[in-house]
């Protein structure tokens, strides 16, 4: 640590990405300062709420053992909504709650989880300061050498930008420009409190078991979708939308979300619950294409949401695990490379090794698939239409199945040609 440098590393943002990096650096004996804008870690973010355990396992196996999770996900659900009707597919694997922890996933409440993780980083010697906003980077001759918070300047060998989507640090470093409207969604979420027993009854869960549900067709045709996660004593229910489409449709985010809450297949799940938290946030939506072209600058690394590390496949959303992986990769690069100018390239190499960048590249197809506007209205309508005909027994002579399906296609407003094109695109992109 040089005379001028007060810290080996300053981490901006106490979320999973920053904390993973801080944890490993501090554990290796580095002087680490974590600066968090919220009054406590986890205070500022909005997340659906699932973390894949393998990432924590990679960070430190011991951490996995007492992680502050809510429920282990053993029910993976997809729900398709059209009007008041709905289809729910529930894939249940009870073995996911026992045995090999590294293939499990947990629902988490970030206010709890981030504080737990911050506590772990502090235990190994990282310093955490909350309630402070970092306003700018200190840059000298194209290198980042520290941060500015209010009137205070703090110098560091490395700055880790873990300040989330629309990262101020990345902007100040010139690595990203203002957000493009098509690369971010607007997410709204409520945490609805219910007794554990009620949640277990309504979702058919045994103790500790949890469900994760993606909801399609709940956005009134707007590019987006819903999610529902069961926590120990609450439910996280939310929606993500493309903001410019909402404006075009002349609708209010709040109204669409209210309609989802009142949906006949959703309302019984949250009935008598008490909304204890309502939040809204930007969500990086573009996958690989939403990542900044450069993930580093000399003296600065972008991790987690700041680096656009989110994967949305339509059937699951990943963000927190990728955040932790990037934090690990950043720490490994910093610890493994003494020459500061080589840490950036080393970070990319570590991201390859940890399978992070390959995963991002592979998921790019999903983003293309999810760009098809028909996914958000016509296809849900088609699926529901087929079901409706399949199960309708009214004493009339039943039509043959093929004819019924064709009718449903007609009703959904899709053409066969579009479906062939979309199907081809689907197969190719996945």
């Amino acid at each position: 640590m040089g005379e001028e440098n007060q810290f080996d590393a300053v981490v901006v943002g106490a979320g999973p990405a920053g904390l993973a990096c801080a944890y490993l650096l501090a554990k290796a004996g580095k002087a680490v300062l974590i600066i968090e804008r919220g009054d406590a870690p986890g205070a500022k973010n909005v997340t659906g709420g699932r973390i894949y355990a393998y990432a924590l396992n990679l960070l430190d196996q011991e951490l996995l053992e007492d992680a502050a999770w809510e429920r282990k996900v053993s029910h993976e659900e997809i729900m398709i909504i059209d009007g008041k009707r709905s289809i729910t597919i529930d894939y249940h694997d009870p073995s996911l709650t026992e045995g090999d922890q590294s293939i499990q996933s947990y629902t988490v409440l970030r206010a709890v989880f981030d504080q737990w993780m911050a506590g772990k980083a502090e235990e190994v010697g990282a310093m955490l300061v909350c309630g402070i906003r970092v306003d700018d980077l200190i840059q000298r001759e194209g290198r980042v050498v520290g941060v500015i918070a209010g009137e205070d300047e703090i110098y560091a060998e490395m700055v880790i930008a873990a300040d989330g989507v629309n990262s101020i640090m990345a902007q100040k470093a010139g690595l990203i420009s203002d957000l493009k409207k098509e690369t971010v969604g607007v997410g709204v979420k409520e945490v609805i409190e219910l007794p554990a027993k009620t949640i277990e009854e309504r979702f058919k869960l045994s103790q500790n078991e949890g469900s994760a549900r993606m909801i399609l067709g709940c956005t009134q045709g707007i590019h987006g979708g819903g999610f529902l996660y069961t926590n120990r004593e609450s439910i996280s229910l939310g929606c993500v939308f493309m903001p410019q489409e909402i404006v075009q449709h002349g609708q209010q985010v709040h109204d669409i979300f209210q309609e989802l809450k009142m949906h006949p297949a959703i309302y019984p799940l949250i009935q008598d619950g008490k909304t204890v938290e309502y939040s809204a946030h930007l969500v990086s939506e573009a996958g690989l294409r939403g990542m900044p072209a450069q993930l580093y600058k000399e003296g600065l690394l972008l991790v987690g949401d700041s680096a656009g590390l989110v994967i949305n496949t339509g059937y699951s959303i990943r963000g927190m695990d990728l955040a932790i992986l990037s934090g690990i990769a950043a720490a490994r690069a910093i610890l493994g490379e003494n020459d500061r100018s080589k840490i950036g390239p080393a970070y990319l190499a570590e991201m390859e090794k940890i399978c992070l960048l390959p995963t991002m590249r592979l998921s790019d197809g999903y983003t293309q698939l999810l760009d098809i506007p028909r996914i958000y209205s016509n296809y849900p309508q088609l699926a529901i239409g087929v079901m409706q005909r399949l199960y309708k027994v009214d004493g009339q002579i039943p039509q043959n199945l093929k004819k019924q399906v064709m009718e449903a296609i007609d009703e959904s407003g899709l053409t066969l040609w579009q479906m062939i094109k979309d199907g081809f695109k689907g197969v190719r992109s996945i």
């Binding site: 310093m127 300061v129 309630g131 402070i132 703090i154």
Partner: protein, 258 residues
Amino acid sequence: MSRIIACYKWVADEADMKINPDMSVDLSKAKGKISDYDRNVIEAAVQMAKISGDLAVTLTFGSPKAKLSLKDALSRGPAEGFWVNSEMAEQADGAASAKVLAAAIDKIGDYKLIICGEGASDTFARQVGPSIAARLGIPCVSSAIKMELSGNEVKVSRKLEDGIEIVAAQLPAVVCILPEINRPPIPGLKAVLDAGKKPTREYKIEELGLLDSDLGARNETIEFKAYVMNRKNIVLDGETAVDKVQALVGSLKKEGII
């Protein structure tokens, strides 16, 4: 250089308070914080010490949970933090708290001025400051909105219901302040980092020559309940803005608010 001692209380954050359907209050998930008014107390001590060249220090009587408060208090500027650590603090009333704080102040020694909040943000019983003064046998001035040290005196502006009273008291003295005395700034990054390096001192009750049995509360909280204030749901009608304002004024007068 003498000490200017800022006394503060570590209270449950009312933002985390939950009201159960039976109107009982659940504080089990509430995080702690320095009583809002006591942030003014610490700021007042820091400001006074800056002018007089004395040493601002903080003092609290709290359960082990109050340990968290030391760094927060010191990030606001004082040079040293004192903490009387006892579970008894959880049930202490004003008399017991004053007994402990007075004994601690005696132990710290070399004090010029003790600053307290007019009341704590949880109970607002307004007893601790005057009781400390009585125990130490020094003057006490309450409801302070301005104070100034000059020579061997502290000159205090007291906010009364219909005026301002200016009084002078011999030092050492206890001054209980109202929040309008200053606006405590939010500590900056360096202040927070420096706070971790400042000295803190922990006292046990026995070290102060007291016994747990001395600290029994003479007031016992029998019940702690929320109350509901129903909205009146009055809609004011009127053709013009003037009509509406007049209706509003009339309504407020009827309620005895203005």
